[in-house]
């Protein structure tokens, strides 16, 4: 039987500052944040880095050279077409991270709006909207993407759409649940009592109180999306050559992993590192933003 909170109120200046402090104390989460930040920076600067530092571009082929293990000319080695692996890794990372971010944002926008409306409306509207989500959930993702690709051809925008179209479902469910929980709180009743419009209550009172869970879930969606993209690319449905993404690199590397192991090791390591880091960061954010914020 745990005793209730005993000590008197602590005067903390701001919820966000408190959260940041809690995050700061979580070394694993900070590590994750650091890694993600560094990787994003490096990949974002892929072009100038390739130009000035590395000296190769991602599409430069050197067929005569063929696949060579890491050496001081090619720091991570080359692939079967003589393309520098490090350059491809950087450019690939740029695409993977971009897909991850953009698809997450798309799913965020759709999911939050959908879930918020459903949770706020309640009753039959909520039931109908959620049944739709249930049905869409049941659709096999792979087939859906293949269909999209078949109809509209392969391009990277379609990739975003396909992934976003799948990810928003879970976001919608989560947001709906959160909205229903916040809706019960007394300050929402107070807002109704004041005679505020429903739209205002939703956007000004309910959604800002959901920022915590939304941020956390968004951070955890990015690695999911990146994995999805890798999966699609692995199937040959995603990014097309000469562009690379980490998924493509992993696919190519897996095909020849016995003979040229470095072609798999480095892309896989980069992917794994990023996924771990994002997950640590997401976990840390969830702990940091864990709402003690509405009650001291």
């Amino acid at each position: 039987m745990p005793p209730p909170a005993l000590h008197p109120d602590e005067k903390s200046a701001s919820f966000w500052r408190d959260a940041w402090h809690r995050l700061w104390q979580n070394k694993l989460a900070l590590f994750g944040l650091l890694v993600v930040a560094v990787l994003s920076l490096v990949c974002g600067l892929a072009a100038p880095l390739c130009g000035h530092l590395i000296g190769y571009s991602y599409e430069q082929q050197n067929l005569a050279l063929g696949p060579v293990p890491p050496n001081h000319a090619h720091w991570l080695g080359t692939d079967r077409m003589g393309r520098d692996l490090l350059a491809r890794l950087l450019y690939g990372g740029r695409i993977s991270l971009m897909v991850g971010l953009l698809a997450t944002v798309v799913s965020l926008v759709i999911g939050v709006l959908y879930g918020a409306v459903s949770g706020f409306a309640g009753g039959k509207v909520d039931m109908a909207l959620m049944r739709l989500v249930d049905i869409l959930y049941a659709l096999p993702f792979t087939i859906f993407v293949i269909l999209l690709m078949v109809f509209f051809g392969r391009n990277i925008i379609l990739l975003f759409v396909a992934i976003g179209a799948v990810e928003w479902l879970t976001m919608a469910r989560i947001v709906r649940g959160q909205v229903m929980a916040v809706k019960q709180q007394e300050f929402i009743e107070a807002a109704r009592a004041l005679g505020l419009r429903r739209r205002r209550i939703l956007f000004r009172h309910i959604l800002p109180n959901l920022l915590g869970p939304i941020i956390v879930y968004a951070t955890l969606t990015v690695p999911e999306v990146m994995l999805l993209e890798a999966f699609l690319s692995f199937l040959g449905l995603g990014v097309q050559p000469p562009h690379s993404s980490w998924g493509v690199l992993i696919k190519e590397g897996a095909e020849v992993m016995e003979e040229y192991p470095w072609l798999l090791t480095y892309p896989a390591a980069a992917m794994a590192l990023t996924l771990f880091s994002l997950n640590f960061l997401g976990d840390g954010l969830r702990d940091a933003l864990d709402v003690r914020g509405s009650k001291d």
Partner: protein, 336 residues
């Protein structure tokens, strides 16, 4: 003076036969009606402008639901609420929202009734702007005025709710209710979550506001002594009905209904000699659930004075000795 007699005149608020029933549905796939929770089961009373009515009862009696039903935060299933002649139960949509400026609520939990993400300025400004146009530039001054009215410094508007103590938060909540300039305020257990020494401050504040602004106030509480202090009239609720209503002093000193008598008897007196010597009848069992109300008089299973007819007939509020003091008991005459 706290309890100056209210302005006489026609009743400002008339509640007639108000009922709020909640259906209880059971069933896994196909829900069927398993019963009804009669939270408010036929309540009628009047309130004059500027009058303070205390509403007491224990858990399950429906006092909170009654407060919310009057304010249309929960839509009643039957009955009429006339505020200054306008039937609130008939209002819908935009007209209801606009009418809300006339009646407000103060909630029990000061930690939950303020949006933690909004500063005091945001919250009060929003309330002010909800029903009237005020130039943005004037808002800080207006908010400052409101805060001073409830005893807080104007600069407090920059802070977030969690930077305040419970009592201060309740003051902010009162300021928010006052911002729309209502004529009726229903306070649902406004001091129950506060320390004893802070309770007095908030009670004083509410009494002063009601007096100065001629606000009708319904003060809901389970604490009879607090209610007695602030109210001109007291209504006692049991299982969705008012079982006794009358001037506060009379209800307190000469309770007519056995339940009121039991309630008063159960309150511990901070006076060791009197407390240990008093003889009182503690009603056995628990307050019943409004899902399964007993037939006849709702209190009869626990009543020491019950007779056979009490299980059959439902008593109505009848005056006894004083027209303003009524009790819903079949045996009022015999008991008193």
């Amino acid at each position: 003076m706290v309890s100056a007699p209210a302005t006489s005149g026609p009743p400002f608020l008339r509640v007639r036969d108000l009922k709020t029933h909640f259906p209880v549905e059971r069933g896994f796939l196909f829900q069927h009606r398993a019963g009804t929770v009669r939270a408010v089961d036929g309540v009628s009373f009047d309130l004059r402008q500027g009058e303070i009515l205390g509403l007491v009862g224990e858990s399950g009696c429906g006092k909170s639901t009654l407060g919310r039903s009057i304010l249309q935060l929960i839509r009643p299933t039957g009955g009429v609420v006339l505020l200054d002649g306008c039937d609130l139960t008939a209002l819908r949509g935009r007209r209801l929202r606009q009418a809300r400026a006339g009646f407000q609520m103060i909630f029990q939990d000061p930690y939950a009734s303020l949006n933690p993400r909004m500063t005091v300025f945001d919250a009060l400004g929003e309330a002010i702007l909800a029903h009237r146009r005020v130039p943005r530039a004037e808002l800080p001054a207006r908010v400052g005025d409101l805060l001073q009215k409830v005893g807080l410094p104007p600069r407090a508007q920059r802070k977030y709710p969690h930077e305040f103590s419970g009592g201060q938060r309740q003051r902010v909540a009162i300021a928010r209710a006052l911002a729309v300039e209502p004529q009726l305020i229903i306070a649902d257990e406004p001091v129950s979550a506060l320390d004893v020494s802070i309770q007095a401050q908030i009670i004083n504040l509410l009494a002063r506001i009601s007096r100065e602004m001629k606000l009708a106030l319904i003060f809901i509480s389970h604490d009879l002594s607090v209610v007695n202090y602030i109210s001109e009239r007291i209504a006692v609720m049991y299982l969705g009905r008012i079982v006794e209503i009358g001037p506060a002093a009379r209800v307190f000193e000469h309770p007519l209904h056995p339940y009121t008598q039991a309630l008063l008897g159960a309150i511990p007196i901070p006076d060791p000699v009197r407390e240990r010597q008093r003889i009182r009848v503690v009603p056995p069992g628990d307050p019943p659930s409004p899902l399964n109300p007993p037939g006849g008089c709702p209190f009869h299973p626990r009543c020491a004075q019950a007779r056979e007819r009490c299980a059959r007939e439902v008593p109505a509020l009848e005056p006894f000795m004083d027209p303003s003091h009524q009790a819903a008991c079949l045996r009022t005459r015999e008991i008193n």
